[in-house]
C-alpha cells in the first residue's frame, strides 16, 4: 500500500482517500462477500468499512499497517451486517432424501451446496478466520494480530469451523440426505 496516500488521507485529503478506496475496495469486498455469503450484505459491509476507515484514519499511528487495520474494520462491519439477519442458526435436520444422488460430476456441486449451508451455520467469528486463512492465505498469527485476539483463539476457531465444514461434507457422503430447513 502506498503509505503516502494513507498519510494524505489521514490529513483529510478526499482525493487521496478516493484513490485508496479504489485500491482496496475490490479485495475488501471479495473478503466481505466470502464471509457474509450475500451480495447485498457484502456491499453494505464494504461501504461501512470504507467509511469507518475514512473516519478513523487519523488514529492509525503507523500507515504501514493500513492493510491489516483495514481488514479489522472490515470484519467488524461484517459482524454488524451479519447481525442484521442472523445471530445463531439452530441445528438443521437431515432427512433421507427421495432423490438419488447423481453419479456424474455433480458431486462437486453437491459439495459446494453442502459447504454453503455448513458455512452459513458458522458464526461470523469463525467464518472470518476461515476466509482470512484459506482465501487470503494468511498465517494464523497475522490473523490474530488483525482481529485483535490471541493466536490460540484463532487456532481454536479455525479448528471448530473446519470441523463444522467437514461435518457438512460428511453428511453428504453418507446416504443421500436433504435438508428440510430450506
Amino acid at each position: 500500500m502506498d503509505t503516502d496516500l494513507v498519510t494524505r488521507a489521514q490529513r483529510g485529503d478526499e482525493e487521496a482517500f478516493a484513490s485508496l478506496a479504489v485500491a482496496v475496495g475490490d479485495r475488501l469486498h471479495a473478503v466481505a462477500h466470502r464471509i457474509l455469503r450475500d451480495i447485498d450484505l457484502a456491499e453494505d459491509a464494504t461501504q461501512q468499512a470504507l467509511l469507518a476507515i475514512w473516519q478513523d484514519l487519523p488514529q492509525l499511528r503507523d500507515p504501514a499497517r493500513f492493510d491489516a487495520w483495514s481488514y479489522r474494520l472490515l470484519v467488524r462491519a461484517c459482524y454488524a451486517e451479519g447481525r442484521r439477519s442472523r445471530h445463531w442458526t439452530p441445528n438443521m435436520r437431515l432427512l433421507p432424501s427421495d432423490e438419488p444422488m447423481q453419479a456424474d460430476g455433480s458431486s462437486a456441486a453437491v459439495d459446494r451446496d453442502q459447504l454453503e449451508r455448513g458455512f452459513r451455520r458458522l458464526s461470523i467469528d469463525h467464518r472470518a478466520v476461515v476466509v482470512l486463512h484459506h482465501y487470503l492465505d494468511w498465517p494464523l498469527d497475522r490473523i490474530a494480530d488483525t482481529l485483535g485476539v490471541p493466536a490460540g483463539t484463532v487456532r481454536s476457531r479455525l479448528h471448530h469451523a473446519m470441523r463444522g465444514l467437514r461435518a457438512a461434507l460428511d453428511a453428504d457422503a453418507r446416504p443421500p440426505a436433504r435438508e428440510v430447513a430450506q
Binding site: 469486498h29 464494504t46 488514529q59 485476539v149 473446519m162
Partner: protein, 302 residues
C-alpha cells in the same frame, strides 16, 4: 489426515468462487458521503451499526383473517368427513382424504401472516402464529422480527433454538476468549435456568413455571446491564449462549436489552423461545410479542 486435507482443498476451491470487484455505485455512494462525514481525531472507536429497521407496518387484520378463517373452515369441514360407511350406505365410494396444507417455513420473508414452521432438530415440529398485517418478518428460518425491526430503541424479535448437550454460557459475555462455564451447564431445563439466574454478568429474574402448548417449562428474564461497556468485545456483542458444536452463538448487543427466555421441555430436549426487546419497546408491542410466543405449538412430525 487425508480427510482434513481433502476438506481444506474443497474449502479453498469453493472460496475462490464469488465476486472480486466492488461495484462502482458502491464506491460512488461512499465518496458522496465523505464531505458530510468528519474524520475522528483522538477519540475512541465508537461502536457503529447500520440500523436498517423495517418501516412500521400497522396492524390490520380483517381481510387476511377472513381468508384464514375460510381456509380453516374448509379444512374443518373436510376433516369432518371421516369414518366408515353407514349401514344403509351403498357401495363405498372413495372419499377425498383431505391433504393437510403444509405449514410454510418461517424463512426470510416479510409481512408474515398465519402459521409458520420453525425448523429445529427436535422430533416435533414447532409452529408459530403471526397475525396478518402486523408486519413481522422471518429471518433465516429461526428468528421472527417485529414490525419496527430488531434493534434499539424500540425493536423486538423472537428467536427459536434448541439447547443441546453442548449448550453453555460464556464466562464473560464481553470476551469469547475467556471461555465457557466450567463445569458446563447440565442437561436439564432446571440446570439451564439456574445457570442463567446465577450468572453475575447480567440481571436475571425468575424462574416462573410456564406451559406452552401443554409442555411444561420455565421462564427467566435477563437484562444486559445499562452500564455494560460492550466495546471490549470488539463488535459490541454481548455473548449469551454458545452451542458448542459449530461455534454458533446467541448474542445481545445493547445495554438494557431484555431477553425473555422461555425454556420448554420437549420430550427431554430443551427448546428455547427467546423474546428480546429494549427499554423503548412499547407496551403494545410487548403484548403482541407475548401473543406470538403463546401461539407456539408443538406437533409430532408426520
Amino acid at each position: 489426515m487425508s480427510a482434513d486435507r481433502d476438506t481444506t482443498r474443497i474449502v479453498r476451491s469453493w472460496l475462490l468462487d464469488g465476486p472480486t470487484e466492488l461495484p462502482d455505485r458502491v464506491l460512488d455512494a461512499l465518496l458522496d458521503q465523505l464531505p458530510a462525514t468528519p474524520q475522528r481525531r483522538f477519540t475512541w472507536w465508537p461502536a457503529r451499526r447500520l440500523t436498517t429497521m423495517n418501516n412500521a407496518v400497522k396492524f390490520g387484520l380483517a381481510a387476511a383473517v377472513v381468508a384464514v378463517a375460510a381456509l380453516l373452515g374448509f379444512n374443518y369441514l373436510a376433516a369432518s368427513n371421516v369414518g366408515g360407511p353407514g349401514p344403509g350406505d351403498p357401495t363405498p365410494t372413495p372419499t377425498l382424504t383431505p391433504t393437510p396444507t403444509p405449514v410454510p417455513e418461517l424463512g426470510s420473508r416479510s409481512n408474515l401472516e398465519g402459521r409458520y414452521l420453525v425448523p429445529t432438530d427436535l422430533p416435533v415440529d414447532v409452529t408459530v402464529e403471526l397475525p396478518a398485517g402486523s408486519g413481522w418478518t422471518g429471518s433465516d428460518n429461526w428468528v421472527t422480527i417485529g414490525p419496527k425491526g430488531n434493534d434499539a430503541p424500540d425493536g423486538m424479535a423472537i428467536r427459536f433454538y434448541t439447547a443441546g448437550e453442548q449448550f453453555n454460557l460464556f464466562n464473560n459475555p464481553l470476551s469469547a476468549s475467556d471461555g465457557l462455564l466450567d463445569p458446563p451447564v447440565g442437561p436439564t431445563v432446571d440446570d439451564l435456568v439456574q445457570a442463567i439466574l446465577s450468572h453475575p454478568a447480567w440481571t436475571a429474574t425468575g424462574p416462573t413455571g410456564i406451559t406452552i402448548d401443554g409442555r411444561a417449562g420455565q421462564f427467566v428474564q435477563l437484562t444486559i446491564p445499562l452500564d455494560a461497556d460492550l466495546r471490549p468485545s470488539g463488535n459490541d456483542q454481548f455473548l449469551l449462549f454458545d452451542n458448542g458444536s459449530v461455534g454458533g452463538q446467541v448474542w445481545g448487543w445493547q445495554p438494557g436489552q431484555t431477553h425473555a427466555i422461555h425454556i420448554v421441555d420437549v420430550d427431554g430436549e430443551r427448546m428455547i423461545i427467546e423474546a428480546f426487546s429494549y427499554p423503548g419497546t412499547s407496551v403494545e408491542d410487548l403484548a403482541a410479542q407475548q401473543a406470538v410466543v403463546d401461539s407456539v405449538q408443538f406437533e409430532p412430525q408426520p
